[in-house]
């Protein structure tokens, strides 16, 4: 009984104890904020990594791909387990390529990844149409130029070659008719946003966000060079830019170019062949079972079956490791707070030596005195952790406002928006992490109060009473 009363009184009268509370509080708040922001970044990153990738993909090992995707998709549809789990499928043909275009009369060349898709089925798999910049195309994905693009395309039409008719003798038979120029039937291409834009750090919009400069307008013509299927001979064709896609994952936005599947097949002379089948699942948690079944089903075909997480395994693992290390480092903050508690508690024990002697003379046991100081540590830890949690949550929720305020008042950009492709600092509050942080910090507070508490408990009552 006296333990609680004394703990409470000590808490109210010892200002030093407030220091302990503050140090625990700051540690907990920092951990929560950093965890939430890290969580936000990694959730966003995961989202984007997933972005273009379908849940599960069936891939060929080489550029030549595999034949008969329809037959394979039919086999998947006929399998009872897969039929239940697979919602959509789309064959795609992916190959490296070189992009060339003119920008202000300068030839520009970029290496890209060229993907032949069937817009409708690829959209059903997800991670394609929702990233297109043209809202209409999002509804009905296709590779047709809209009116303005068409107009620009026609305006930029290369002049028809002049037909030179040599002056001949009037008796000569008329020269053969020059061949009529065939109308240009250029295929559309959807470019990654970052391929066709660059961020101008100097040019700032009025609201402070950076402005993107466009290098390729819809309707501009580009040349894509790649290799043919089996022979890997160079092939090229002209495409007209029809739209951009913006997944906000710079790796994708700066590399991918989508073109119609059939045209790419024809260009690479590999009709009827694709390099992968993208699959969307009803429930991603079932992915391992689906992957296992697919592997079983296509064991003869030497096809690779992967979930998107396996495909991005290295990056995801890196994020996990990063987060783990950061957490360990940050937990050291709480350990520092723990040493603060140790020091301050030792001081309080010295200060309270006489009181400990008094309590013992009144019949308090060693255990009882021990409990007073352990309870005290627990109380400090809990109050610190409680306030710290509230503070951490408040900061997390308002982190963008705080960032703006700090940026305004110090003139330093804390969150440079041109490094990332998003305008707000992403956060994700994870109740589990908060619970762990709280538990850990209260545990550390108690742990570090054990030593002073033991010292107090085993003080000799007479010596304690005589302590000046």
């Amino acid at each position: 009984m006296y333990k609680l009363i004394l703990c409470w009184r000590y808490l109210k009268t010892r200002y030093l104890a407030i220091v302990c509370v503050v140090s625990v509080m700051l540690g907990v708040a920092t951990l929560i904020v950093v965890n939430s922001v890290m969580g936000g970044f990694s959730a966003k990153l995961r989202d984007r990594l997933h972005g273009l990738l379908s849940d599960v993909m069936l891939e060929a090992y080489d550029f030549d791909g595999f034949a008969d995707p329809e037959g394979k998709m039919k086999r998947i549809k006929d399998d009872p387990l897969l039929a239940k789990e697979v919602v959509a499928m789309s064959p795609t043909l992916e190959i490296f390529a070189m992009l060339q275009f003119q920008f202000r009369d300068t030839p520009v060349t970029k290496t890209v990844r060229l993907v032949g898709v069937d817009p409708a089925s690829r959209s059903a798999v997800g991670g394609f149409s929702e990233y297109l910049t043209d809202p209409e195309r999002r509804e009905k994905p296709n590779f047709q130029m809209d009116a303005t693009a068409k107009e620009r395309f026609d305006r930029q039409k290369r002049p028809e070659p002049l037909v030179f008719t040599p002056l001949g003798h009037p008796d000569d038979p008329p020269p053969p008719e020059a061949p009529k120029p065939t109308p240009r039937t250029t295929q559309g291409a959807i470019l990654g946003y970052a391929i066709a834009h660059f961020r101008d750090r100097q040019a700032r919009a009025e609201d402070g966000s950076t402005r993107d400069r466009r290098t390729l307008q819809p309707g501009d013509e580009v040349v894509l060079t790649t290799v043919s299927g089996a022979k890997l001979a160079p092939v090229y064709d002209r495409f007209a830019v029809v739209d951009y896609f913006k997944s906000e994952m710079s790796e994708y936005d700066s590399q991918f170019i989508f073109v119609p599947l059939e045209h790419l097949q024809k260009l690479r002379s590999m009709e009827g062949r694709v390099t992968s089948i993208q699959i969307r699942l009803r429930d991603y948690n079932k992915a391992p079972a689906v992957v296992a079944r697919l592997k079983e089903l296509f064991v003869q075909d030497s096809l690779d079956v992967q979930t998107w997480e396996e495909k991005q395994g290295a990056v995801l693992a890196a994020i996990r490791v990063e987060k783990g290390i950061l957490n360990i480092l940050l937990f050291l903050i709480i350990a520092v707070a723990g040493f603060g508690i140790l020091a301050i508690f030792s001081m309080i024990v010295v200060e309270k030596t006489r009181d400990i002697g008094i309590l013992k003379s009144l019949g308090a046991s060693n255990m009882g005195v021990l409990q007073i100081f352990l309870t005290y540590g627990l109380l400090l830890g809990m109050i610190g952790a409680g306030i710290g949690t509230l503070m951490g949550l408040a900061i997390t929720v308002n982190i963008n406002e705080i960032e703006q305020f700090l940026a305004r008042s110090t003139g330093q950009d804390i969150f440079p928006r041109d490094v990332y492709y998003f305008d707000r600092i992403p956060t994700e509050i994870q109740p589990m992490a908060i619970a762990l942080v709280n538990l850990g910090s209260v545990g550390i507070a108690v742990l570090f109060s054990i030593l002073p508490a033991l010292r107090a408990a085993f003080l000799h009552p007479v010596r304690a009473l005589r302590f000046e």
Binding site: M1, I5, L6, R9, I358, S361, G363, A364, V462
Partner: protein, 292 residues
């Protein structure tokens, strides 16, 4: 084996205590025998360092003797386990100290309640609370502090603090009140008040009191005085400065108050190991005994 005249409450038998200060051993008590009877008001006097406080601590189980025995109501308590000794300090002994030793964070009332807090678990407390507070109030009234229940120790005078300490010592109806220089830090008037209060508690309520003091004036008011010299009960200069008058003893100062004592009143004849001449009876305390 000391013979006892009345029922002994507390007994020390050949108690020895050595303190180590670094490598130097100081033997503070060199075999002390003492028997305290129920309802007795005993004072222990002696020079600084004579071991009188140490004796009090050993009697009250605040410290443990190196050799010898301490008995309370027929129970040997010096060898008792820690739990038992905690309980004895809580229930059977009441301590008062020179520097009051109140808990500064608690009010006077809470200080008096402290032994009950300690004895009571958090679950039992709500059921005992009302009774406990009533008893604490009554005790504070008894020591004349009924008007300062909610004051912190720092808001009380020395005399008031000592009264609160006495009330605290009495809250569990102890068998023995152990007082270590209770007036040592008080001015004359306040000290006299405390002395009167202790005397009254002894005569009116039959409280057994052992008081360590170097104030002979105050010792004189007690039933019996024991002098410690160099860790032994001193018999050579017969009694605590009591003069021998015609075969009897009386207290040194204030002839009018002198109590004439007969040899028969000398308490406790011992030929324990502490005696320099075994076989020769030793007087180690003298006092006026109540009528039997």
């Amino acid at each position: 084996m000391p013979t006892t005249i009345n029922t002994p409450v507390l007994q020390a038998r050949q108690v020895r205590k050595t303190y180590m200060r670094g490598a130097i051993a100081t033997e503070v008590l060199k075999g002390v025998d003492l028997t305290v009877e129920a309802g007795e008001f005993l004072s222990v006097v002696g020079a600084s360092g004579s071991g009188k406080s140490t004796l009090l601590h050993l009697l009250g189980t605040l410290d443990q003797a190196d050799a010898g025995e301490v008995w309370l109501d027929g129970e040997r308590i010096d060898q008792a386990g820690a739990r038992r000794r905690d309980k004895l300090r809580n229930k059977s002994f009441g301590f008062i100290f020179q520097f009051y030793h109140l808990l500064p964070e608690l009010s006077a009332l809470e200080n008096v309640l402290a032994p009950l807090y300690i004895a009571s678990s958090i679950w039992a407390w709500p059921f005992r609370r009302a009774d406990a507070i009533q008893r604490a109030r009554a005790l504070l009234e008894r020591v004349g502090l009924g008007h300062r229940l909610d004051h912190r120790p720092c808001e009380l005078s020395g005399g008031e603090m000592q009264r609160a300490a006495i009330a605290r010592a009495l809250i569990n109806n102890p068998r023995v009140l152990l007082a270590d220089e209770p007036t040592g830090n008080l001015d004359e008037d306040a000290g006299a008040d405390i002395a009167r209060l202790l005397r009254a508690l002894n005569t009116e309520e039959g409280l057994t009191i052992i008081m360590v003091t170097h104030n002979l004036e105050m010792a004189r008011t007690t039933d019996r005085v024991v002098r410690l010299t160099h860790g032994r009960v001193d018999l050579s200069s017969p009694i605590v400065g009591l003069k021998s008058v015609g075969g009897g003893y009386h207290l040194p100062h204030g002839e009018d108050q002198s109590v004439h004592l007969d040899r028969r009143d000398a308490l406790l004849v011992s030929n324990g190991a502490g005696s320099s001449n075994p076989g020769r009876p030793e007087v180690f305390g003298v006092g006026h005994l109540p009528q039997r």
